[in-house]
């Protein structure tokens, strides 16, 4: 690519970035300018992508088929895809006072397809997690800590993995208690006047907070790394390399 173009492009990017950042100080005209430009570009791209990335390959080509080219075999077209066009366009009747009920048909189809899939995927997604949570809470060895596995391989390693050591049993107790207490917090139709339930629910909430704290902590890294990268773009790639040519 032309180096002058690159400097121009990077300059515009830096301007846009700073323009968007300006909202941190307060809402202002510069931000408003870039915000509207951003929205215009984004909606424009959605319109481009609608055809070029979705409809063209998944609908149009399927409907009319493809020509036979060298090294690329032609496919027949399936006319039934054409029926989706009028059905989809019922959605546009939402603005009609009289026929707006028809806009529910395409939405109903989308919803139905989604709902049916839920029955299909529910167990596949959660079943293995149920199984993994059934952790034994007592050790099956007299040793307390798991030995260091450095340098161990084969059956010996497999045996270590299949053994529940004392410390692991304690961890498993914590695991199961956390799991069941948090689950009890999400029971809605039982009266919490029952002392035991009230107590497990409160404990559940506290344990939940440990989990949330851990999530918070581990996601902070990504947020900061994105900023660091932007700073690297502005100061190193643009100012240092493009402008100062160093």
């Amino acid at each position: 690519m032309n180096p002058n173009y690159l400097v121009f492009r990077d300059g515009c990017i830096v301007l846009a970035t700073l323009g968007l950042y300006s909202v941190l100080y307060r809402e202002n005209k510069v931000f408003r300018f870039f915000e509207h430009m951003f929205l215009g570009l984004a909606v424009g791209w959605a319109v481009v992508a609608m055809w070029t990335e979705v409809l063209f390959s998944t609908w149009w080509v399927k409907m009319i088929g493809t020509a036979d080219k060298l090294g690329h075999h032609g496919q027949p077209g399936y006319w039934a895809w054409a029926t989706l066009l009028p059905i989809s366009f019922l959605g546009y009747l939402v603005f009609s006072k009289k026929y707006n009920w028809m806009s529910r048909i395409p939405i109903g189809i989308i919803l139905g397809l989604w709902a049916g899939q839920q029955v299909q995927v529910w167990f596949t997604q959660y079943g293995p997690q149920f199984a993994d949570s059934m952790r034994p809470i007592w050790p099956n060895t007299h040793e307390f800590t798991r030995p260091d596995v450095t340098g161990i391989s084969g059956p010996a390693l497999a045996s270590i993995k299949d053994t529940v050591y004392g410390s692991q049993a304690i961890d498993n107790v914590i695991y199961v208690v956390t799991l069941l207490c948090v689950m009890s917090y999400f029971l809605f139709s039982f009266d919490v006047k029952q002392k035991l339930l009230a107590r497990t629910q409160t404990t559940g909430r506290w344990l939940l907070m440990i989990g949330f704290g851990a999530i918070f902590g581990s996601t902070v890294m990504m947020r900061f790394s994105l900023l660091i990268d932007r700073m690297s773009f502005i100061f190193i790639e643009f100012v240092k390399h493009d402008v100062l040519r160093r």
Binding site: E35, V48, A82, L85, G91, I105, Q120, I174
Partner: protein, 301 residues
């Protein structure tokens, strides 16, 4: 022509009632007929009474969902190889279901894509109105509409050129003004504005942490404590120093920073995430059932 022969094996289906040859008059006729028949049927339906309406909407929803439910409960032909025949009628059904899944999976995408026009309509009504009335901020609406049309124009022009020229245009040295224009708008501005907005979050995280992360209740303290431990665990330098000290302790290894964060993750983060997720999963399934069977009252109540 090695590639050609290989692809032949199972990708070209035989001609049937349902398909037609690319560009042939027969296929076009079928396409137009299909379009017209469905359109006419829908026009007839428009004045249906409230009862019929309910059945039409509910029926469409039910049928769409029933496919996947049936697919799940009907036996799947495992270990099916290309070119294999079903053993009997029952297995023929499962073969058919298997083949139909990718097709059915596309329908939602396609319908949703057609509905994008509604979104564009919404954007236009707001901003064109503003420009027409010259109300406050109308200049910015002009900016929005202008960048919209530029993006659409250059986007389609670039796509068309790339379809004609093939992979040649993957190389920037063969680019013309249109390709540069699209790349500038998309790869340059749009993608980087995305990144800029994405990175703004870190400012907000800092201010939220300063403003709201306070030891005001047991819960907040617990949240704060585990968050800080995890954050410290992310610092490789700190971890290095900590482990160095931990190694001096009588029981080596156990107090390593990595062990602590891993313990937090395994004993608290994973089970609490799972407990929430299971509840949400059951909730989603229940809501899915209610929607599928149209048990909920339409609209708001």
């Amino acid at each position: 022509m090695n590639g050609l022969n290989r692809i032949l094996a199972d990708t070209v289906p035989p001609p049937t009632f349902w398909n037609g040859v690319y560009g042939s008059g027969g296929l076009w006729l079928k396409i137009i007929l299909a379009f017209l028949i469905v359109s006419v049927a829908l026009v007839f339906l428009k004045d249906a009474g409230p009862r019929v309406r309910k059945y039409v909407v509910g029926g469409a929803t039910f049928l769409a969902g029933a496919f996947y439910v049936f697919f799940y409960f009907y036996p799947t032909p495992l270990n099916r190889q290309p070119g294999e025949m079903p053993q009997n009628a029952g297995e023929a059904v499962s073969f058919w279901l298997d083949d139909a899944v990718p097709t059915v999976g596309q329908i939602a995408n396609i319908v949703a894509a057609f509905l994008l026009g509604l979104g564009v309509y919404s954007v236009f009504t707001v901003h064109v109105k503003r420009v027409a009335k010259q109300s406050a901020d109308w200049g910015f609406s002009v900016v929005l509409l202008l960048s919209f049309f530029l993006m659409v124009g250059l986007g389609y022009a670039d796509w068309g050129m790339k379809r004609i020229a093939g992979p040649k245009l993957d190389d920037p040295s063969n680019w013309g003004i249109v390709n540069y224009g699209r790349s500038f708008l998309f790869d340059g501005l749009l993608q980087n504005m995305d990144a800029a907005m994405f990175s703004i979050i870190s400012f907000y995280i800092l201010s939220a942490a300063y403003r709201a992360f306070r030891i005001r209740s047991i819960e907040a303290t617990i949240l704060l404590g585990s968050a800080v431990i995890m954050m410290i665990g992310l610092l490789s330098g700190f971890e290095y120093g900590w482990n160095h000290v931990a190694h001096q302790l009588p029981t080596t290894g156990t107090y390593a920073m990595g062990e602590l964060t891993k313990w937090l993750q395994d004993c608290f983060q994973t089970p609490s995430l799972r407990a929430i997720q299971w509840g949400l999963g059951i909730g989603t399934l229940a809501m899915g059932l209610r929607l599928w069977l149209s048990l909920e009252k339409q609209g708001a109540n």
